[in-house]
Every structure is written in structure tokens, then in C-alpha cells.
Subunit: 380 residues, 2 copies
């Protein structure tokens, strides 16, 4: 019985950052005790985990030993030692998402091959082994070069405009992708439990920061047609079912000018594009992740109100002990929810928090996004 | 500047039960570090406070020493040593609610005198010193006899129906109150910050458990006329302004059959009658409490959706390690949010958690309250 599991199973998370922190905030409501492993002694989860272990997520022995003390394991970051997770799984521990799914996602090359093999629409690409290799494909430029492994939060991705820019190419295994002339970037978060129940959250529209290459803000629902929304949901569900994964999966997609939907990247965990569900939806992505990995019935994903989410990034030019300028002004606005991540130190573009805004009127929502962006600053 | 305060002040809470736990869950979003003092080594706040101290809340030295390590102090239970708080206050610590307000509320006799002196409508009463004293007032029966001090969660209150029942009277200082033939019990939660800004939450309707004498469930909004709702809000605002208190105040009231509103009792802290605000209102009572004591702008109190809240009480006849029967069935319902309090042991009528239900349709809300009451049980 699943509810028996919740009371008696010890959940371990690999990673103790903001995603783990919000997962714990949600887990508290279900009396789920969570142990956390993170390399940073001052990780955001430090004070709120049942047990906190400082250690490397990529080290076999560290992950294996941590996993032995838990009954069920999950992740809040993909860059973890999957060999240790596979051994734990073979010894009877539950690991969700499954280690083979994490491995597939860790490398953008296997991700892209997976889309191709399963007829999931994605931008055309070639695999490249090193910088020299990329020079063969001048006819494909302009293109996006992505590092196969260890890219994160906008690192490991760059546009190569023309032959002159080829020198920027990564000198390691990667993917050279067609530059998609998209009109919108969107995301669908979908969950699947062990019973095979699947539910998708409504499509959100992402706006990226021009310099930092990570989400600056988002709107839910996305400003797209019903047809495109249905296609995006269908694709997200296809991806999670094809992977056969248990847990939460974020599927980032492009909408082209002729309304094609292409899968860009996936992340098998709670995701930046689902933060707004805490306030704006009947079930939050964090609770949905817990429901899926504990094989509980999935929660209703519909929105209570339209919403926006603004990432609160460390202001460029400031490093050191974080100060939050304009917090009081922002808290004075109706429907504004501030989430700070408990990080003592700021640096340029570091994710320090986010702000969710709910409002029945989408025009008001847009005004409030501008107000928050212009008012709340993380300085040092 | 208030936002500077939040970053630099250490908040201490006297009491580490479920109210403190939900306050910490909210405080995490604002990077507020909270130290907790509670006599129970396994209190619900244990694992999520920045620092947890086990110690008696009624002991002068314990409270004083704890308070010295904090900049700002608040409570989640009234039964604390106010002498220590007064000394801390005189030494420059901020204590909200103020110790004199806590003292006034600790004794139902001073509470009742306060209403009378300030022309706040309340049930007629006489003060009684002991059991013998109560016998003088046979002409006032049936009446409610309340212990002056240390009543909590329904303890220390009883109805004396007639002369034959006089033997049940408390043999300690108390209040003998007219038995109000009310049609509804309601509550208004109101907040006030140091700037004097005051905001009230919408009126909720309380339904009490017939045996346990504590809230079994509630509905928001209350099923009362606009006029009665305005009068209830006006009274709550009058009480907090008259007290001059800073923080959150729950004002429980009776609505009589001729639509008079009478103040019954007050509690200067987050309250059982405000749990549903976490999901159902733009601002939760917990965030509002933090905003008020840190002198931040108060949040919008309006409801996003109609809601109900069901207290999850330990089932009569069961004591021991808690098990949650029917959790899965309840989680399968749309708009249902389960909050468990992290208590390992259950006993009859112990508050083990609560369930909030949101729905646009009030009739559906009532059906779901019945479903939750009949389905989710805390047994051992």
C-alpha cells in the first residue's frame, strides 16, 4: 500500500539546492523524512533535511553509501554517479527517476539520438567529437553547438554564427544542432507513477535572459493556440511513456513560426519552469514528484489562476553576502509570492530565488512582472 | 528599513508545535532563520528550525536565556513566561505580540474584563473564585464555566446545565458566562504591524467537534449576511487596535439567532481557524504573521477560492505510533491538500494534521468535507 510506504520509507535526495529545498517544504506536509547529499556544506537544504551529508554526487562510494541508508532515492540534479545508483537498484532500492533515464539525459548526444529513434520531433543535428570535427560542418552554420555532458543552467551551449566563429566550438564530444528560428519557447511538466498513471501540467511560455542563457521569466498559460498546446502535451506524454520513467519530467520545446513543436531538452526532476505551480495550480510540481515516486495517485494539474514566475538572479557586478533590495515594495503588491533560496552568497546570474505572481488578468500579470524585474534586486 | 531587518534579525519562537512548523515553512521563503524553544524533544519543529532548544516555556530562566540569543521573539502558544519576555523587552528585544497582550489573553478573566471595559460585545458573565463561589449563581444556569488560566484546545471549559451539575464547576478562579444560544460560531483573523497598518481575513464559519470541544471543520466564506460579516470584521479590528498589539490575532465570535455578534475568545498568534489561508488566500496567515512582526507591508487577505478545512484528530480509542488510513483515497480528490504535523504518536483527539479543500462550488466543498471526514483516519 502506497500510504504505508510514505510513513515507513526514508527518502534520499541527491542534491540539496533550491529544488531539493522546495521538495522538502512540500514533503513536510506528508510527514516524509528526507536525507540529503550535497557537496556544499551550506546547501539550501542543510537546515531542513532530516539528515544532511556533505559529499560528492559524482563519487561512486559517496553515493552508494548514502543510498544504502535510504529506501527510496531521487535527484534534484542530473550530474550524479549512476553506477552507484544502478548497484543500489540491483540491491532492491527504489531509484526514481531510474538510473538509465538519468544516464540518457546526462548526455545531450544520447538525448538527441533518443528523439530521433523514437520519431520525436527535434531540431536536426549531427554528433561532433571535437573542435576539429565541427569544422566539417560549415554548410550547417549558423548552428547551436552543445557540449554532450555537464552543461547546466545555460553553460555548455553556444551559437556558432559563421565560419569565423568556429573557434568557439567546444573541443569535446557534442551536438551541432540546426538553429531553430522559433517564435516561442515552451515547457510541459509531466509526471508518471509506477502504476503508469500520467498527468501533464498546462503548457508554460518561457522567456530567456539574453546574457545568462537561462529562464528570466515565464507565463502560464502560454500564449499559443489550443492545437499547439495539445501537441506539446502529447509530445511530453510520449517522451515520458517512451522512457518508461517514474517521476517528474520537464520537457522544453520550441514552437516554430509555422507552429511546429520541436523537443529541445528534457530534465527528469522538478524544474525551473514549474515553480509557479506552488501557488497557481491545484497540485505543485513538488508534491506531484513525491506522489509519482511514492506511487500515489497523481494530483490535479490544472491552474487555479493565470500566473507568471520571475527568476531572481544575482545582479551582474555584485558578489558576496546577498542583500535583497526592493523586497518590501514587491511584497506590497497583491498576488506576489517571494521565494528566497537560503543562499548566503550572491554572484552574477546566480539563482537566488524566484517570485510567483498570480492574477486573473493577464495584462496585470505582465505589468507586475515588469514591476518585480525592475524593483527587486539581489546585490552584495 | 524592514527588509534589512528580515535579512539580519534572528527570530525566536516560543513553542515548536504545528503552528510553529507552518510558520517556519512560510519563513523559509523569506530566508528568515528561526530558533525554537519547546519542552518536547520531538516537537514538530525539531528538524526544520535553525536551532532547536528543549526547555520549559513557563520557566523564567529558560525563556530569558533563549530570548537573549534572538533579536525578535514571537509565540505559537500563550502559556509562556511573560516576566522573562518583559525583561527581554525592557532590554531592547522586540517581542510581538507584546508580553502585556499575552498576559491579558492568558487569563480568561482579564480577557472578559477587557471586553466589558472597552464596550466590546461579549456574553454576560461573573467572575468566580472557586467551586463554592459558583454555587451562588444558580439563577444564572445553564451557563458556561471557564477556568481562568491554562485552558487549551477545549480543556478548561464546561457547560453547567443545572444545580445538579454544579459539582463539575472548576475549583479555581474562573468565569461563569451566559450560555449563548448561537446559530453560528465564526472567526476573523486580523493582523497589525508596527506602522499601525491593519488587515482582516474574510470571516470563516467554525463547526466544533461534539466531544472534543475543538474545531472539527470550517468553511470560508462563512454562511452569514454581509451585515454580520462587516460587523465581525469591525469587531476584530477594534479588538486589535484597542490592544495596540503587533502580530496576528484570531478573534472567535458567536452569531446569535437575532444576528448579534459577540466576541468569545481571542488568541494572539496563528490559529486553527486560519490554516486554510495557505492554499485558499492570496496571503497565508503565517506569512501575514511574519509580515506584521517584521513591520513589512501586510499582504492581501482576500480568498482565491472558497475553502474548507478539516482537522485531522487522533481517532478515539487509538494511542501509539500514528498510521494514516485512507490517505491515498483523499489525495485522489481534486483540490485536497493534506498537512500532517510530523507527530510520531497519536492519542484520542490529538491534532495530528489538517486537510484543506478548495473548490469553486460550495456544495462540492461540503461533499468533500464529508468524504475526508469519513475516509482519512489517524489510528495506531
Amino acid at each position: 500500500m502506497a500510504n504505508k510506504s510514505i510513513q515507513n520509507q526514508k527518502l534520499g535526495i541527491l542534491g540539496g539546492g533550491q529544488l531539493g529545498r522546495m521538495l522538502i517544504q512540500s514533503a513536510l506536509d506528508l510527514n516524509i523524512d528526507i536525507n540529503v547529499l550535497d557537496p556544499d556544506e551550506n546547501a539550501p537544504c542543510k537546515h531542513i533535511s532530516a539528515e544532511f551529508t556533505a559529499g560528492k554526487l559524482t563519487d561512486f562510494d559517496t553515493v552508494y553509501k548514502f543510498g544504502k541508508s535510504c529506501d527510496l532515492l531521487t535527484i534534484e540534479i542530473e550530474n550524479v554517479n549512476t553506477q552507484a545508483l544502478k548497484k543500489l537498484q540491483s540491491e532492491g532500492k527504489k531509484v526514481f527517476p531510474q538510473p538509465d533515464v538519468i544516464e540518457l539525459v546526462q548526455d545531450k548526444r544520447t538525448q538527441k539520438r533518443f528523439y530521433k529513434e523514437n520519431n520525436i520531433p527535434t531540431a536536426d543535428f549531427v554528433l561532433t567529437e571535437n573542435k576539429e570535427d565541427v569544422r566539417k560542418y560549415t554548410d550547417r552554420l549558423p548552428a547551436v553547438h552543445k557540449l554532450g555532458r555537464e552543461g547546466y543552467d545555460g553553460r555548455g551551449v553556444q551559437v556558432i554564427k559563421d565560419k569565423e566563429a568556429l573557434d568557439k566550438a567546444f573541443d569535446a564530444p557534442g551536438v551541432l544542432e540546426d538553429l531553430v528560428n522559433f517564435k516561442k519557447e515552451i515547457s510541459v511538466i509531466v509526471a508518471r507513477n509506477e502504476n503508469g498513471e500520467v498527468k501533464a501540467f498546462p503548457v508554460v511560455e518561457l522567456v530567456f535572459h539574453p546574457e545568462a542563457n537561462l529562464v528570466e521569466y515565464l507565463f502560464a498559460p502560454a500564449g499559443i493556440s489550443e492545437r499547439v498546446a495539445l501537441e506539446a502535451e502529447r509530445l511530453a506524454i510520449t517522451v515520458i511513456n517512451t522512457l518508461g520513467m517514474v517521476g517528474l519530467l520537464a520537457v522544453e520545446m520550441f514552437v516554430t513560426h509555422d507552429d511546429q513543436v520541436l523537443v529541445n531538452e528534457i530534465a527528469p526532476r522538478p524544474h525551473n519552469s514549474g515553480h509557479q505551480t506552488i501557488e497557481a495550480n491545484y497540485t505543485s510540481q513538488y508534491e506531484q514528484h513525491l506522489r509519482s515516486i511514492f506511487n500515489m495517485p497523481l494530483g490535479d494539474t490544472s491552474a487555479v489562476l493565470p500566473s507568471a514566475m520571475v527568476n531572481l538572479l544575482g545582479e551582474d557586478g555584485y558578489s558576496g553576502t546577498a542583500k535583497y533590495e526592493g523586497l518590501e515594495e514587491v511584497l506590497g503588491q497583491k498576488g506576489v509570492h517571494v521565494h528566497l533560496y537560503g543562499k548566503k552568497l550572491t554572484k552574477p546570474f546566480r539563482k537566488m530565488g524566484h517570485v510567483t505572481i498570480v492574477d486573473e488578468d493577464v495584462a496585470v500579470l505582465r505589468q507586475k512582472v515588469d514591476f518585480v524585474k525592475n524593483t527587486l534586486k539581489v546585490i552584495a
